[in-house]
Every structure is written in C-alpha cells, then in structure tokens.
C-alpha cells in the first residue's frame, strides 16, 4: 500500500471518529489491521472508535486492545495523542501516566512528552511522582515553570501529610475522597507530631526549591503568593511581610487580588494591629469602603487587647458563609475586660464619626452603620462577666434609624434581619411598630407613588412589619395581611408599566408577600383554598414580570403542594437553570419528584429532567481535571486547591446522590420489573455513593433564592411548602440506596472489593467496617428513617421484610443441598406473606381515604402514596421474578413460590383499587368548583379562572395518568 493511500485511509478513520461514525471507523481500522496487524496507530484508532460506541461489548474489546497499545510503549506523537483520547474515554487516567512516562523515558530530551507525563500525574492528584518528575525536568530543560510545578506539588503533598486517606468502592469516588481528605487537612492546623514533621519537611523542601530559582521568577503574582503561603504555613509570617514590603511586593499588593488576600491573612498572624488600623483607616478615608477594611479595623481594636491564638484563626475558606467568619472569641482575662470595652468604645467612636460625616456629606453609604452592628456582634460574643450583654450600641435605636435612612434600598431588609439576633423581644416589637407606622402612612395612597424608591420604602416597611410579627398567626390574620399586600401590589403595579419586558417589576415583592401570607393561612388552617388563591396571584404576577425568579419559585412550591407537578416543572424550566445550576437548583422539582413523573404512563418529562440534572457530574469528571492541568500550565497556583475543592464538592454532592435515586425510581416505574431498568454503571455509582458517610456529602442545594418573607419567629416558607417531614437529604438517600442495592445487586457482587492494586496506585485505604456491605444494606437507622414520609417507611419496611424472607429461604435451601423444600408453607411464611400482602391493602385503604376527601387532602399526598405503592409492587416484582424463575421446576407447593403468588394476587387487587380511586379522583377535578371556592379569598383583584383551569387540567391528567401508568406497567 502506498504511503499516500495509507495516509488517506488513516485520515478517513479520523473523520469517521470526528463525525461520530464509530462503527465505520472500526471497520476501516479493521481493514488496515488485516494488512498490518501490528500497526500501533491503527490499533489505537480502533480502540478510540470502540471506546466511543457506548456499547459494553465494544468497550470490553477496547480495553483489551488498549492494553496491547500501552505495552508496546509507543512514542510516536499520533499514537500517543489517539491513545490519550482513548484512555480518557475509557476512564483510565492512571494508564495515561504509564503511557507518557514510558514515552518520556525513551525520549528524555522531548520536553513536550515530559510535560504530558507531568500533567497526567496532575490529573489524578499524584503529587509526589509529579514533583519528582518536575524537578528532573527542571534539571534537564532549565525552565523556571518546572521548578515552580515542583514547588506546588511539594505543597500539595504537605497537605496530604496530615490527611487520613480513605476510599470507597468506586474508582471515581476514591479519587474524589482523596481530594476531599486533603482539602480537609489543608484547613486544619497540624495534627500529631509525626505528621507535622512530614508536613514541615515538605514545605521546607518547597522553600529550598524556590531558593534555587532566579529572583526574577517572582514576577508572576501567583508564584509570589505561593511563596508567601509557604512561609505562612511554616509560621515565618515575618519573612513574608518583609517580602511584601519591597517595591515589587507593594506593586503586587496593588495589582494582584490574590496577593492582597494573603497579605490580610499574614497581618492576622503577625498581630501588627496598629499598622493595620492605620492602613484600614487610610483606605476607608480615601473612599474604599470594602467590608474587609471594616472587619480588619474592628479586629485591630479588639485583638490589640486580647489577641486570638494563631491556632484558633482558621484559614479563610471560600466554602464558608461570609467573607471572614466570626471566629471563636478568645477568653478575656478579668483584668482585661475594661480595656476590651474601652477598645470597643474607641472603635465605635471611629464608626460613629464615619456615620455622621457620611450623613453630613449626603453620602448614601451604609458602611458605618453595618460596622457598628458588626462591632456589637463581636463584643457580645466575648465572655465579659455579663457586661457583654450591655454591648456598646443601642441596637433597636440604630436599626430604626438605619431603616429610615436606607429603607428605599432593596438590601435594607436583609441588613436588618441579618442582625435580628441582637434584638430582644422589646427591640423586635419596636422595629415592628416603627415599620408598621411607615407602612400605614405610605400605603394610604400607593397609587400616587411615582418613585421606585418610595415604593421600596413601603415594601421594606411591610416586610419588616411581617418579619417581626408575633406568632402563631391565625388564618384570618394571614388572609387580612394577604389582602393588604395584594391591594398594595395592584395599586403599585402601574409604576412599572413602561419598563422593558426583561426587567422585573418593582412591585413584585408585594405579590410574594401576599402569596406567602396565603401559604401562612394554609399552614394555620390546613384549608387549601388559600393555596389556590396563592397560585392565582402568583400566576398573575409572573405574567406581569416574566423573569422574576422569586415569584416563579414560590409558584413551583405551591403547585407541587397542589399536586400539579407538570405546572411546577413548566415554571421551573422557565427559569432556564442549566449546567452547574442543576446541582444547586434541581431539588426544587426533583425532591420526591418521582411522584410527579408519570413515567409509567410514558410521560418522560421528569425523567428527562433528572437525566439532564445528572450530566453536570459527568462533565465535572471530564472537565475539571483538565482545568487543573490548565492552572498548572498557566501557573495560576492560587487556583489549584480551589479547583480541587470544586471538583470534590460536585463529585460528592448530596444532590448527585438524590438525583441518582430519583432517576432510578422513575426508571423502574417506567419500565416495570425488568432487570435492566437500572444500568450497571448506575448500580456501581450507587454502591460507591453508599459508602460515603453522610458527612462526606456536600449539600450544595441553594435555598437562598427562595424568598422567605414569613415572620422570623415561625416556620419559613421553605418549611411550610416542603413535601414530607423534611426535604430528602443524606438519610433519605441512604435508605433508598440500601433498598435498591439490596434489590438489584446480589450479595456477592455487593461485597466485591475494588482491585487492591488500583487502590495502592491511588494511595488510599479502604474504609474498614464491622460488617460487609451486603449486611450493612439491611439496617436502616432511625436517623435515616426520620427523613422518610409514612409511605416511604412503609415501602422500606415491606421490601426489607420481603427480601429477608427470600434470603432466609435461599440460605435454608443452600444448606439443604440446593433445595427440596418441605412442600408446606411454614407458619412463619404465612405470617410474613400476610404482613406483606396486608401492607398493600393498608396502603390502598389509606389512598382511598385520601382520594375521597379532595377538600381536605393535598393532592401531592395522593400522588405520593399511590406512586410509592406502585414502586413497592414493582420492586416486589423484581424480587419475586428471580424467586419464581429459580423455583420454576419445583412443585407448586413451594412455600416461597406460593407466598409470592399470594402477595402478587392481593397486591394486584390493591393496585387495581388504587387505580379506580385515582380515576374517580380525576373525575372530581373541576375548575368551576375550584373557582367557586377561592374567588372570594382576595376578591376581584385577582382573576382566578385561568389558573384554576390549568390547575384542574394538570391534576386531572396527573391522577388519570398515574392510574393508566400503573395499569400499563403492572396490571396488563
């Protein structure tokens, strides 16, 4: 074959792969391999094509062929490139290291190959080999960046020196756990002596490496910051400050936010309070009112009297709420109490002056006010023998004045409520009364308000009046308030008539207030008529303010309570949340979302949403390590640990586990009791997730975007609209993971450990447990149960009873020589069968009672109970199908088979009855009735007809759809 022809054919394979024609690419590669069976490039191309088809058989073949390619120790650039892609596709990052290290060994003067080998180590967090390699490369190639790579890798190793590494059973999770452990160690002060020695040894090694670098290499701010960081970690902060005091250091402080941030940490550790006070006052005087200056200034006053010990000052963690979290106040010796209070008074004087001067200058500036409140918070955190309770400022007085000054800004309410803990009951009442007086004055003639600032004053006053209202509230009080807010809303709406459609209406918060008061009325009375009115009002407000996400999220919550899952999903989708937002926001629709999915009836909207929400975790695995590599390439060392933390928080996200469980539940309700309903990969993930302890999960769910304007002494809007006792969290995920793993995975497979060689490479240890996983999945703790609804508990109990019963029989059969049963159902069997079968009938009775009371029962409860019963039946079907197929040749009197038949018969009857109840409930769904019930709640101001139409239709379809779905999947 001519070279030209060969090149053309190879190019054709690349093109096939690029265009997604993997099958064709495999065929083309096969053709070439026939002629040249040993050609490594052809093999590598075939591997890549096989890896991308997505078929398990192809993947298995790809793995085998890939081993051949790696063993051939390729060094050709094309082969390395293709193989590297194949390794990524097959998730074999460690073999990437072997591939490039072997190639680099053969071509030690090839700088690019060395860099590739280095980055392959970075991708998986192999810091020590990476450090050694970078050091060697610096010797060979003399490039500064290689030296700094080695420095960074030594620092990363020092973090691990203090970490206890553990791994769970899946490879990806093991990697993540490793990062998590290091992140945790990084935040902690040094542990025991041996570990501290190792840590210091590595940090000193990093320092020695830096000393070998030419001075000029410090030009890069990130290198400079890394140097400072190392000095700080070695408690040599004074030296770091000397570096900052040079011309170059000063320049970087001015031009690099990273260096600025480290400088501030260093100040805290060197106790240079006088200097810091002067610096912050100079900055604030010149107009820089950064909150950091305020905090530093307060610190400089208070810590000058009693300095915190260095160990109690945590490294600033970007994951924590607040820029500089309030640290534990250090103990104050008795003889320093006076001095501390005097220092606080001195500080107060400074900010009092700032407030006065800003006022005189007519500046719209909140800094001084908030600084005084922060100072008060700090003072009260000390133990001053009781004098701390007196504080240094009159908080109610200050806050009342603050509202007068800044009530026209949307942020005012947040500022006030953020300091509510500084108020006693009388103080709260004073603020409430003051806000109420303002509200009464302004709402008298809302229609004449022509400025958004005045409207905002009214909104602020109403919000604060409500926030500080006494609880419990009666339904009548809440309805009266809702009418008041709604009246103000409609009166103020014309103010925004000319703003662009893309802007949110200035009056929106009044609609949120009204809707939340109605939800409060429901909470007080359990009368869902208020929820209907809330839905109608929110729909109206959403149509006037299309992009007001706060309104829409309230509506999502209300529709879910009312059982209108389709409408909830529609409004959620209008928010346009995507990519990383799915981790933080999808809980709004996916929490217990399977009850709304109707996947059993072929409606795949919710299933698609759950699938989509899972994509970000795959992206994280694929993209974030590459970005870590980039941070090294661009030498932005300040980003390295942040990227690792980010990756870890997504990898071990609670929402990831919750999404996986919901997806599995929707899937089995869609497919019915088929073995392949949940994929092997999903089961591997479930197994891996399960071994994470609850505290290893990160709860990234964002509830801050859901407005809560309820009285702060009572339940939040979130709590009032959560479906179930609490929102699903780690305990809920664990309970369902246990049920599903036990149902879908046989005990031998559950107990199979990860390859010790792989774990050794990872440098991690398996967690030790007293019991194997196959036993641990059998116990559901009280803590886990506390997150479940009654129906969820019933499912968990029923499946536990079923599986335990089957397992007892299988154990007995195994002991009896593969089983000839005694031909009779034992007394125990009868009891078990009765309990399981009756469980179906009891649930049926509960559902019938719920469905028969449309006015008294929130619709979600009917959908939830019915879906859970169906899920129970499908899981029963999965377990029983394996029992009946194994026992097919046995006599009909086999106790297991007999029991299964009984349960199936009675379960089927229960499901049929539930379908009938759902159908009857659907028929009772009538928009006109809903309109009649809720039209008077808010009066004529709100048009309820259109909302009740869509609500009734949505619910009718939900009840009918569920009945059809159950019939389709389980009764046909």
């Amino acid at each position: 074959m001519s070279r030209q022809l060969e090149e053309r054919q190879v190019r054709a394979i690349y093109e096939s792969i690029d265009t997604g024609s993997y099958k064709a690419a495999v065929q083309q590669a096969n053709k070439l391999l026939k002629r040249q069976p040993g050609n490594v490039l052809y093999k590598a191309l075939k591997v890549l094509a096989l890896a991308r088809t997505g078929r398990p058989d192809d993947e298995a073949e790809a793995h085998g062929l890939l081993d051949e390619v790696i063993l051939s120790r390729p060094k050709d650039e094309s082969v390395l490139g293709v193989t590297s892609h194949a390794l990524k596709a097959l998730n074999r990052p460690f073999d990437s290291i072997t591939l490039f290290e072997e190639a680099f060994k053969q071509a030690p003067h090839d700088e690019e190959l060395g860099s590739q080998a280095f980055m392959a180590n970075i991708r998986v967090g192999n810091w020590k080999p990476a450090q050694l390699l970078a050091t060697r490369m610096f010797k060979n190639f003399g490039k500064d960046r290689m030296l700094w790579w080695a420095v960074m890798c030594a620092v990363l190793q020092s973090m691990y020196a203090n970490a206890q590494l553990t791994a769970s059973s899946s490879l990806s999770t093991a990697t993540a756990t490793k990062i998590s452990a290091a992140s945790a160690a990084m935040k902690q002060p040094a542990g025991d002596k041996d570990k501290t020695d190792v840590r210091n040894l590595l940090l000193n090694l990093a320092l020695r490496l830096i000393e070998r670098a030419p001075e000029t290499t410090h030009a890069n701010a990130d290198r400079f910051a890394l140097h400072l960081d190392i000095l700080q970690a070695l408690e040599r902060a004074d030296e770091a400050l000397v570096m900052l005091d040079t011309e170059h250091g000063k320049h970087l402080v001015r031009t690099s936010p990273v260096v600025q941030e480290i400088r501030r940490e260093l100040i805290l550790r060197t106790a240079a309070w006088d200097k810091e006070r002067a610096a912050t006052e100079e900055a604030m005087q010149s107009g820089d009112r950064s909150w950091e200056h305020v905090l530093s200034n307060i610190n400089s006053h208070l810590y000058a009297v009693v300095a915190p010990s260095i160990d109690t000052i945590p490294i600033i963690d970007p994951g924590l709420p607040g820029p500089l979290p309030p640290w534990p106040a250090p103990p104050v010796p008795e003889d320093k109490r006076e001095a501390l209070l005097a220092a606080a008074q001195e500080c107060k004087k400074y900010f009092d002056t700032m407030v006065a001067q800003d006022g005189e200058a007519g500046k719209d500036e909140r800094t001084g006010w908030l600084a005084l409140l922060e100072l008060e918070r700090r003072v009260r955190a000390y133990d001053l023998g009781g004098r701390e309770t007196e504080g240094v400022i009159d908080v109610p007085e200050l806050l009342e004045s603050y509202v007068k000054a800044f009530g026209g800004k949307a942020v005012c309410v947040e500022d006030v409520l953020g300091h509510a803990e500084l108020l006693d009951e009388a103080g709260k009442e004073r603020l409430r009364a003051s806000a109420e007086a303002t509200a009464t004055e302004l709402e008298g003639d809302v229609a004449s308000i022509t400025s958004t600032s005045v409207l905002q004053r009214l909104i602020t006053a109403l919000k604060l009046s409500r926030a500080f209202a006494a609880v419990p509230r009666t339904a009548e009080q809440e309805v009266a308030d809702a009418k008041r807010y709604a009246a103000a809303y409609f009166a103020a709406l014309p103010l925004g008539k000319d703003i662009p459609k893309t802007e949110i209406q200035p009056a929106d918060d009044l609609a949120v207030l009204a809707a939340q008061a109605l939800v409060g009325a429901h909470a007080a009375s359990q009368d869902q008529v208020y929820l209907y009115a809330a839905a109608a009002l929110l729909e109206t407000a959403c149509s006037a303010s299309r992009y007001a996400y706060g309104l829409r999220l309230c509506l999502v919550r209300v529709y879910r309570m009312l059982g209108a899952g389709k409408l909830a999903l529609k409004h959620y989708r209008l928010l346009g949340a995507k990519l990383v937002q799915t981790d933080t926001l999808s809980h709004f629709v996916l929490a217990r979302g399977s009850m709304f999915s109707l996947a059993s009836n072929g409606d795949l909207d919710y299933l698609a949403e759950a699938t989509e929400a899972g994509v970000i975790y795959v992206s994280n695995t694929a993209e974030t390590p590459e970005m870590l590599v980039r941070a090294f390439q661009w030498e932005k060392y300040s980003q390295v640990t942040d990227f690792m933390t980010f990756q870890d928080r997504l990898e071990c996200s609670l929402q990831r586990d919750l999404t996986l469980v919901e997806l599995a539940r929707m899937r089995i309700l869609h497919t019915g009791p088929r073995a392949g309903a949940i994929t092997d990969a999903e089961l591997v993930d479930m197994k891996g997730f399960f071994d994470r302890i609850v505290s290893d999960r990160y709860d990234n769910r964002d509830l801050g975007v859901l407005p809560s304007l309820q009285p702060i002494a009572g339940d939040s809007f979130d709590k009032q609209t959560t479906l179930g006792p609490v929102a699903p969290a780690g305990g809920w995920a664990n309970a369902f993971l246990k049920v599903y793993l036990r149902t879908f995975v046989n005990p031998l497979e559950l107990d199979r450990q990860q390859d010790p060689e792989v774990l050794k490479k990872l440098g991690v240890e398996l967690p030790t447990h007293d019991e194997p996983l196959s036993e641990r999945v059998k116990h559901i703790t009280d803590e886990e149960l506390s997150e479940l609804t009654e129906e969820e508990r019933a499912l968990v109990d029923a499946i536990d009873e079923l599986l335990s019963w089957v397992e007892r029989h299988q154990t007995k059969e195994a002991a009896n020589g593969n089983g000839n049963g005694n031909g009779h159902a034992e007394g125990g069997d009868k009891d078990v069968v009765e309990r399981i079968a009756k469980g179906f009938e009891d649930a049926q009775a509960r559902i019938e009672a719920l469905a028969a009371d449309p006015d008294g029962t929130l619709a979600w409860k009917i959908l939830h109970a019915s879906t859970l019963l169906h899920e129970r039946f499908v899981l029963f079907g999965l377990v029983s199908s394996s029992v009946t197929s194994k026992n097919a040749s046995k006599k009909k009197t086999d106790p297991l088979a007999q029991g299964v038949r009984t349960i199936r018969t009675r379960g089927t009857a229960a499901l049929k009855a539930v379908c009938a109840a759902l159908t009857a409930r659907a028929e009772r769904e009538d928009a006109a009735t809903l309109v009649d019930r809720c039209k008077d709640v808010l009066g004529d101001a709100v048009e309820v007809g259109a909302t009740m139409d869509v609500l009734a239709t949505s619910r009718r379809e939900a009840f009918e759809g569920l009945a059809h779905g159950i019939a389709r999947v389980s009764l046909s």
Binding site: A410, Y547, T584, S619, K636, G704
Partner: protein
C-alpha cells in the same frame, strides 16, 4: 458595603441569585474554570457581609500590539443589590488591573443593542461605542420583541492609549461582522 474579592471556583455554587437574571448566561464548568486558570486577577465577585454573592465580573486580557486590552466577558449584579454602585467598583478594579498589571491600551465589552440599561451604565463610567458587530450573539435577545442579535463593542481608553485611539465619535455607524472580531 461589600467585599470585592477574587472569583473562586466554588462561587459557582452560590451565583444563582445573579445568574437567574435573564440577561446573564450560565456557561459550562470549562468556561469559568478556564478564565480562572488564566486570568484570576481579572475575575471578581462582590460579596455581602453575610456571604451572599451580589455580583461578579469575568474578564480576560487579549489582542496584540495596540489592540492589547482587557476584556469584560461577563458582568452582572443580582437584582436585589442594584443601585449600590457594585458594577462600577468591579469595573474600576478590572480597568485598574488591565492598566497596571497587564499594561493594556483599553478595556472593552460587548453589549446587546437593546440592553439600554447596561449601555447607560457603561457610558456613565467612561465607555463609548467603538463599533457595531453584526450578528454577534448566536441567539435572539430575551426581549423577543426586538429580535436583536447585533452588539456594540464599547471601549474605554487606559493610560497607555495616549492618543485615545479606542474612542470613536461615530462608533455606532462603524459596522463589522462577527467573524472580524476576536
């Protein structure tokens, strides 16, 4: 009253109140992290004392010769924190770093023709239209009435642009196609 600090990767878990705004696009992990991996000193957030994010800016440095400049890729402030001068402060810092650390000639940004509120803001802080880029945005404006996909490239000169070449009096009339801009 806020803390203007570096944008960190973990801020992606906290930026919903900003990104649920209709004008603010949410991008892939790679997008944000690739900016942080290269220009962390041009990416900042404004953080409230209670830790909530109030707004952010993502920028980069690009171009060559006299086109070497700082670029504002995205800037947004959450609705509840508007009218607090937060965007001005973020832009000032980005301009300062573009000037002092990168020695750029100007800072530029793109804005939809129909995003009047944003354009007013940029003009107030010294930006002016340098040229109109046709079909710059791949999708229609969220305001479906105007169906606008063109962008104005707005620029503000830095100290290195001694001759103020980044300012054009008739910028709105200078049309270029999207393929002609970086």
């Amino acid at each position: 009253m806020s803390r203007l600090r570096s944008f960190r990767a973990t801020d992606l878990f906290k930026f919903n109140n900003i990104n649920l705004d209709v004008w603010t696009e949410t991008y892939s992990i790679s997008f944000y992290l690739s900016y942080l991996a290269r220009w962390p000193d041009l990416c900042y957030v404004q953080e409230a004392p209670n830790g909530k994010l109030m707004g952010y800016v993502i920028g980069k440095a690009e171009g060559s010769g006299e086109e070497w400049h700082g670029h504002v890729t995205a800037i947004s402030v959450a609705a509840e924190y508007r009218r607090l001068q937060l965007a001005n402060k973020m832009m000032s810092l980005l301009e300062y770093i573009s000037d002092k650390a990168y020695r750029g000639y100007f800072v530029d940004l793109y804005v939809r023709l129909d995003n009047k509120i944003a354009m007013d803001l940029y003009e107030r802080i010294g930006y002016s239209v340098y040229r109109r880029v046709q079909s710059y945005y791949g999708s229609l404006s969220p305001d479906s009435v105007s169906q606008e996909e063109d962008a104005y490239d707005m620029r503000k000169p830095l100290s290195r642009d001694v001759h103020r070449r980044s300012v054009r009096a008739n910028g709105r009339n200078v049309l270029v196609s999207a393929s002609q801009v970086s």
